[in-house]
Symmetry: C2
Subunit: 232 residues, 2 copies
DNA sequence: TTGCATTTTTTTTAATACGATATATTAATC
DNA sequence: GATTAATATATCGTATTAAAAAAAATGCAA
């Protein structure tokens, strides 16, 4: 059905991983909506594999919280509640600050250069109005900081928290206002590394997350209104 | 058994969950050592089930980081490195502080009472020198705080971080010195809720984690020395 | 039509068997 | 002794089966 089956795989990748990433993408992109059921046989037929890799993929998705499993009934795509999203953002706020502080201690000149490169990419993406590229280069920017923090567990958790909000990451890429904010914040953040001003840096990180919160909350309200209208 | 009819109902538990918890316990208790292989057929025979639930349990363990999976080779029990443990403790330090601050905002009188009860249990366990009970009531104490913080994601992550160090949790239960420290810290912490002194509370949390770090590091060094002696 | 009980279907859960493939070990060859 | 070939072992994936449970369909009486 979808066109991108031309995924070139260098390393050996078990089928379950392939199924996992495929389903994951479908859920995050909204192709499979929250509440929809994931049925083994159906999916197996659709994807041309046996049930075993499907099962294993679904269980992995459940572990990540993307689907909810009901014993002896099956799996449904999990919807994310507003409360949970706020909880996630609150934890992210704390850990992004921690990541910044650690990065501040360890960051090298090369990594600062990498940040600048990522930032240039980001700006190019904005000029070209390439939403996917905007979201990707934003992510790249932050992962450089996570790496600089030199704490694998922190990186792992932050990556996971980001994934929890993957569905909304396009929202600030769409919005002109928040895009400008993002650009400003990114360059200002690089500047704090150069100027060695961590106090200012933490402020920017805080504002950064707070902006995301605003945009996402708006989107949720929008969605809720839309679904209300639909079921009237 | 005859008086309370609500307790008797044992929920349905899939075989994979049973296998999962069994293996998990065995790993955490050290019955299966790091580096040992987990082979599907062997385990299936040993536990009297088929390979299917074994496979699913092993994958779940891999997801938790307790075992490492090597494609087309199998799964081995993961050893935790000193660096990773330090990373975990660093993140825990940040999040335990966050949990304390949130709990400080929302904690109710009833929850403070619960803390006092847990603390009494803890002291009883120490008097009876019951190591398992010591570790359990310590955990209970902290979970009351996590609950009071009213952030599900935070609780989830902290629970997981705790599990990362499950292997070492008995160590401070053994040590007389750290046991006394624990008791003092617990009651002092309760006191900060009552006196509404969050600054002092944060200090105690910080010290609490720091003490654990010391004890665990000592244990690791001990283990390393022992294994060196063994392979001489 | 409505409400209730029964039957059928669907789906997960679990067991089992088999072939293919990758890795490790051992044996053989140079 | 080092390299290569043969063997053994284990995972990976497919396929089939049976049991258990839930959901859907059906039938029937009021």
């Amino acid at each position: 059905m979808s066109s991108d089956f031309t995924v070139i795989i260098n390393e050996y990748m078990p089928l379950r991983e392939l199924v996992f990433t495929t389903l994951r993408q479908a859920i995050l992109k909204g192709e499979i909506q929250p509440g929809e059921r994931l049925m083994e046989i159906q999916l197996a037929e659709k994807m041309g594999v046996s049930r075993t890799p499907i099962r294993e993929a679904i269980r992995k998705l459940a572990n990540e919280g993307l689907v909810t499993m009901i014993p002896r009934k099956g799996a449904i795509v999990a919807g994310i509640s507003e409360k949970l999203l706020m909880d996630v953002l609150q934890v992210r706020m704390t850990l992004e600050k921690m990541a910044y502080e650690c990065a501040f201690k360890y960051i090298t000149d090369e990594q600062i250069e990498e940040l600048k490169t990522a930032e240039r990419e980001f700006e190019t993406a904005i000029r070209e109005n390439d939403l996917v590229k905007i979201a990707e280069s934003d992510e790249k920017f932050h992962f450089i900081i996570y790496d600089a923090a030199q704490n694998d567990k922190l990186k792992e958790i932050l990556t996971n928290l980001r994934e929890n909000m993957y569905r909304y990451r396009m929202e600030y890429a769409k919005n002109r206002e928040s895009r400008e904010k993002l650009t400003r914040e990114h360059s200002a953040l690089i500047d704090t590394f150069v100027r060695r001003d961590s106090v200012e840096g933490l402020k920017i990180v805080e504002e950064h997350i707070h902006n995301q919160e605003t945009v996402i909350l708006e989107k949720i309200k929008e969605d809720a209104a839309a679904s209300q209208k639909k079921t009237k």
